[in-house]
């Protein structure tokens, strides 16, 4: 398992190599990418803030949760911090599994859970304004 919070750019290849195995026929890769618009506004760039020690711990828990539920071979998760330009990758999730259905399902679950429990926050900067985005409050994290 590989878990990373980093200020540097995220390139998928090392993470794909980390999770792939000869006995696993599927690798699902999800990239969260910075969009140039939000609620009708033109986004200039994003800034991510994290509580790194806790974010790493929570990412690991999310990955372990998925491992307990699906027959997964390995998982890699990485999240960027700091300023990200349009088109850059903010989140990377790679999951390997013997079969594709489990890889897709686990990858989907991991991305959804990250958006609920991992202490990372996004600030949108538009022309003429900026705001920290708050997700949905979730009880019982």
């Amino acid at each position: 398992m590989q878990i990373e919070i980093t200020a540097g750019p995220l390139a998928p290849e090392p993470f794909l190599q980390h999770v792939r195995r000869d006995d696993s026929g599927a690798v699902a890769l999800f990239l969260g990418v910075v969009r140039d618009n939000s609620h009708g506004r033109r986004v200039l760039y994003l800034e991510y803030d994290a509580y790194p020690e806790m974010a790493e711990r929570k990412l690991r828990e999310v990955a372990e949760e998925a491992q307990a539920r699906w027959p997964i071979t390995d998982i890699a998760i990485a999240h960027r911090t700091g300023r990200l330009e349009i088109g850059e990758t903010s989140l990377l999730v790679a999951v390997s599994s013997p079969h594709r259905h489990d890889a897709f399902a686990a990858c989907h679950h991991i991305v959804d859970r990250i958006k609920e429990v991992v202490p990372i926050w996004k600030k949108e900067v538009w022309e003429g304004g900026e705001a920290w985005i708050e997700g949905e409050p979730v009880a019982g994290k």
Binding site: L91, V118, W121, P137
Partner: protein
């Protein structure tokens, strides 16, 4: 007894600090500490209904008792991941 309190994102910018060191009283809970900080920083109270508490990088309920050296954070609803929902 002392606790370190960390602030992130909107709270860090609102309070103008990322970390405070605070004296603890005997039997003080993380919820008590939050109310004490709201007296000092009234704008923090606006977040009362949506914040979660963490102690030593783990989510805890408001009644969680604090100990010397604990690291506390008040966690606004998280918004990591990708741009699109």
């Amino acid at each position: 007894m002392k606790a370190k309190v960390k602030f992130f994102a909107a709270l860090r910018e609102m309070l103008g600090t990322s970390e405070l060191s605070l004296d603890l009283s005997d039997g003080q809970t993380v919820g008590d500490l939050y109310r004490e900080l709201c007296d000092r920083f009234p704008r923090l109270a606006e977040y009362g209904s949506i914040l979660l508490y963490s102690v030593n990088a783990e989510y805890v309920p408001p009644e969680h008792p604090l100990r010397d050296g604990d690291e506390v954070a008040f966690i606004p609803p998280v918004s990591g991941g990708c741009g699109a929902d």
